[in-house]
């Protein structure tokens, strides 16, 4: 008997042997409108803090060279927290879930994006260079900033949970480059992790699964993620020892990603043959471990296929469903 996505997912979450390795496109009902209002506008424009975001093919980024302040000691002068009541979280949930019936919910988990985590938010205000220096130059001010920002994130996430009744919150915070952490693991643990932990606890204490999105080579802090109660690591990239992590944390952490985002299958206009080959590689190398969700990265002229759609997706899905059985 074929399991639903939800049933299969729950087996995987509990460390059992799922029937198949899921494909992110099929697994979740993904909701991303609320974070558009609370954190960063996906189509570009000003966020509720006044930072201007520019849309690029691979996502939005703060406008280059425009910062609100350059010294973290000054953050209270410039950061005005928006009134959470005014952000339209409930209306966004109504729009996104309008056609998502209770019957569908029984078959498919709901995952809600929460973009722009603590570190990324500081960088959105100050730029990366100032942010990275601040972490070691003025940790006291960073602590104050992260504590206040965590309060905001938690207030928003609680509203998300009330409005969407999600199974999963996907929290975005990119802490690493392709070659290693932006900051030392020690700095992360001392300056960011305490507040990150509060956010994780706020989510998991309400029975919601915490999915941490961190691109890049962040394997040095995966143990920290697991320790905090993070259950899924998203956009896990091949610059990390994914096979080792899948084995070591089986039953404790699900790896979501696996696609070679810098390889030929992710190049603009990659042929469908390259995509099929990469799909099969992921199934063979990671899928069979039983705690893996494939998150493909296909890029086209409009952007990331996950957001924009792509004519190569049907071939990818068909291939995956041929090779993902466990």
């Amino acid at each position: 008997m074929t399991l639903t996505q939800r049933e299969n997912f729950e087996i995987m979450l509990n460390g059992g042997k799922p029937e198949f390795a899921p494909l992110l496109y099929e697994l979740y009902k993904v909701c991303m409108l609320a974070t558009n209002n609370t954190d960063q506008p996906w189509q570009g424009g000003k966020d509720p803090f006044g930072v201007n975001w520019v849309a690029t093919a691979e996502g939005v980024i703060p406008e280059s060279g425009k910062i609100l302040f350059d010294d973290i000691a000054d953050w209270k002068e410039y950061v005005k927290f928006p009134d959470v009541d005014s952000l339209g979280i409930e209306q966004m949930a109504q729009i996104e879930l309008a056609d998502f019936t209770d019957e569908k919910r029984k078959e498919q988990p709901v995952a809600v994006f929460n973009a722009c985590g603590l570190f990324e938010r500081m960088a959105a205000f100050m730029g990366f260079e100032n942010t990275l220096c601040a972490l070691i130059e003025d940790p006291d001010s960073c602590h104050e900033f992260f504590a206040a920002m965590a309060d905001y994130k938690i207030a928003c996430i609680n509203r998300y949970i009330d409005a969407y009744k999600p199974d999963v919150i996907i929290y975005f915070d990119d802490l690493a480059t392709a070659r290693g952490m932006f900051m030392s693991p020690k700095t992360y643990r001392e300056v960011i992790k305490p507040y990150h932990k509060r956010i994780v606890e706020a989510v998991t204490s309400r029975g919601v699964i915490f999915n941490q999105h961190t691109c890049g080579k962040c394997e040095d802090i995966i143990e920290d993620y697991v320790e905090m109660g993070i259950k899924i690591w998203d956009a896990a990239q091949v610059c990390n020892d994914l096979e080792g992590i899948l084995t070591k944390y089986h039953g404790r952490l699900i790896v979501e990603g696996g696609w070679d985002t810098s390889g030929p299958a992710s190049y603009m206009g990659a042929p469908v043959e390259a995509i099929i080959e990469e799909t099969k590689r992921c199934a063979e190398q990671y899928g069979k471990k039983g705690n893996f969700i494939l998150f493909p990265v296909l890029m086209n002229e409009k952007g990331h296929a996950f957001m924009t759609g792509d004519e190569r997706i049907p071939a990818l899905i068909m291939t995956w469903n041929q090779v993902n059985k466990l």
Partner: protein
């Protein structure tokens, strides 16, 4: 410890507030400006190596680059017109379509620390703009193009080809960015590739010394 040694140590440690005073003290002690500069360039080499081996991370490297920049500010008036320590001018930017500047800014600081005069064209640099900048600036010895995204790899190729096809000479082209590899750099006919900011400074010096 001689003051010049203290300058080296404090640059390595990223003590931006202390370095200017120590540079002044080293000058007062009789050290030549160019020797102090060379000492700081050496420190940044050590910092770059430590970054490449994972001993330190981006913030520590940024702080060191900031400390050196503060020291250079003290030396600049004394070295006006002295080009004996300069490796020439480096034109840097991210290629057309790429708006991400973090890697580029860091590489810029590190290359500057190696002794180049930097001309930062910013982000999303049109292909022709690279050629114009080479023409507009004196003693351009290096063109450093960054492409952070897989979507802008074709643009990186086009930028390198445009610069190479311009007929202008006297410089080398260095490329880098998360998806860029040595193989890709070879494919697009770049003169050099660096996987990170520390290596970029070393590679930049190597390339220019081979001109």
């Amino acid at each position: 410890m001689a003051k010049i040694e203290e300058v080296k140590a404090m640059v390595e440690a990223g003590k931006a507030k202390l370095v200017p005073g120590l540079v002044q003290e080293a000058l007062d002690e009789g050290s030549a400006a160019k020797d102090i500069l060379q000492a700081m360039v050496g420190s940044m080499g050590v910092v770059g190596d430590k970054f490449s081996t994972g001993e330190i991370f981006v913030p520590e490297m940024l702080m060191a680059a900031k400390a050196m920049a503060k020291g250079v500010d003290v030396l600049k008036p004394l070295m006006a017109g002295d080009t004996s320590n300069s490796l020439g001018t480096c034109i840097i930017g991210t290629v057309a379509g790429d708006l991400h500047d973090i890697g580029k800014n860091l590489v810029s600081m590190m290359i500057e620390s190696a002794g180049f005069t930097m001309v930062d064209l910013g982000v999303d640099v049109a292909h022709e703009k690279w050629v114009e900048a080479i023409k507009e600036n004196q003693n351009v010895t290096l063109v450093a193009c960054s492409g952070l995204l897989t979507t802008t790899m074709p643009s990186l190729k086009e930028a390198v080809q445009t610069v190479k096809a311009s007929g202008l000479t006297g410089f080398k082209v260095l490329v880098g960015g998360a998806p860029v590899t040595q193989q890709f750099a070879d494919e697009i006919n770049a003169d050099g590739f660096a996987p990170d900011a520390g290596s970029a400074a070393v590679k930049a010096s190597e390339l220019v010394k081979s001109l």
